[in-house]
Symmetry: C2
Subunit: 266 residues, 2 copies
């Protein structure tokens, strides 16, 4: 299981301000707290700063790596910003977030994945757009896994993102993702599956409850990685509880540790 800490993203107001003020201490603190809370990778996304994304990525990566030893997840649709982040990332194996099956994006991001021997988040979309059904996702997934492995990316470095859509827009949005997971686990047992959770609850009340329970549901169906806020104690409590219930936490040791750390309030 892998948690990618999502908080360092300039779409978040406080991060945007810290970047504007070159407030390195704030960025370092958020990086450190995410790792302490269980993040195995720290995501870095400054895509909202279109005209200064490359310089900002470099500053953020340099800042974060002074604070934590965890490897970084360089998050951008722009190959230039990805390159800037990967070049400086340093510690451990970096992660590229993300490649897709769109021809232009695939061809521009793949060389970076290979050059930096990175793990890669592969979004389940192609030039025909975002899929609705599990069947549509599976067609794209087959192509992504085939092409990435043929290019030399090990299955264990691929993190498929099925692309979660709002259940408030389409009743079947969650179910299509769950069905997709079962296919991936059966056909590609070494490939990882990752997603962000907040899309599922778009437009509905009690979004945090829905996001957390969709994590529990997708874990049950085989998802093994999440891009989330590790400082959400209830979310992390549910994560450890789910792992214990799924038999993935010998003697419930991590669960009991989470209990002692105060992650549960009932």
């Amino acid at each position: 299981m892998l948690i990618v800490g999502e908080l360092i993203n300039t779409s978040r107001k406080l991060i945007k301000e810290a970047v504007a003020n070159k407030d390195a201490d704030y960025i370092k603190d958020i990086a450190r707290r995410q790792v302490e809370a269980g993040a195995g990778y720290v995501d870095v996304n400054c895509g909202t700063l279109v005209h200064e994304e490359v310089e900002t990525m470099a500053w953020l990566v340099n800042t974060i790596k002074e604070a934590v030893d965890a490897p970084l997840c360089i998050d951008s649709p722009s190959p230039k910003a990805l390159k800037a982040g990967l070049e400086l990332a340093g510690k451990g194996q970096p992660m590229v977030n993300s490649i897709t099956a769109e021809k232009e994006r695939y061809e521009s991001v793949l060389p970076l994945v290979l050059e930096y021997k990175a793990k890669v988040v592969a979004l389940c979309m192609d030039d025909s757009g975002m899929p609705e059904t599990a069947a549509q996702r599976i067609v794209i997934i087959k192509k992504l896994v085939k092409d990435l492995t043929a290019a030399g990316v090990p299955q264990d470095d691929i993190y498929l993102d099925p692309l979660v859509k709002p259940v408030g827009v389409s009743d079947g949005a969650g179910l299509e993702v769950l069905d997709t997971l079962r296919f991936i686990k059966a056909d590609y047992p070494s490939v990882h599956i990752i997603c962000g959770l907040s899309n599922i609850s778009f437009g509905l009340p009690n979004r945090k409850v829905l996001n957390r329970l969709f994590m529990v549901q997708t874990m049950t169906a085989g998802m093994d990685s999440y891009i989330l806020d590790p400082l959400d104690k209830t979310m992390m409590g549910f994560y450890y509880a789910s792992q214990a219930l799924l038999g993935k936490d010998p003697y419930c040791m991590q669960y009991l540790k989470a209990h002692r750390a105060g992650l549960f309030t009932e």
Copy 2:
């Protein structure tokens, strides 16, 4: 989906006192509140009162049916107590809780299921004891479904209970149940699956969190009925949220109703 309200059970201190004092108003109030909160059946269990179980069952059933129109789930290992409850149950199709594959119990309970055309909870155990693994459960399930349907019980009236054991005692306890569910859904799509939730968390802290999340996990794997406390608002909120996320709540109507009823606190 079916919720069986579990609260009228003399193992609970307040119920035991109400029975001792023949406090019909208290029993009626608990019955009414469970049905208002979403229980489709009201469980009636006075098994702790060994020497007066039959008379108590009769008094409880008569009391409860004055308060609610929901059918009753007559809960006892004793054929005499089951008979006393079923004879008086009256409204709707009653449920027998429970039969097992133990020879003596099977033979003494089956005639009651047939006589009262009842739904029946079939516990996954036989004369060799309680199963540990999914494979052991599946052997018993195949026998139960074969024998019950051969005797004339429709698949749709059978509620298999896989028997949940504590994950704090055996790491794989939850996973074996989840694997059992996948087998039942694939091989017997018309048969229902039910369980109580509290065993899963025995011996661990934050039991309510574990019970609720095990409900979410088992719903994801195909369980469709629960014996639980419908007055636990967070549990019921998770139930409605899970249904919406699983695409079983058109336009999230029940979820939004649960939201307006204050089931979510985040």
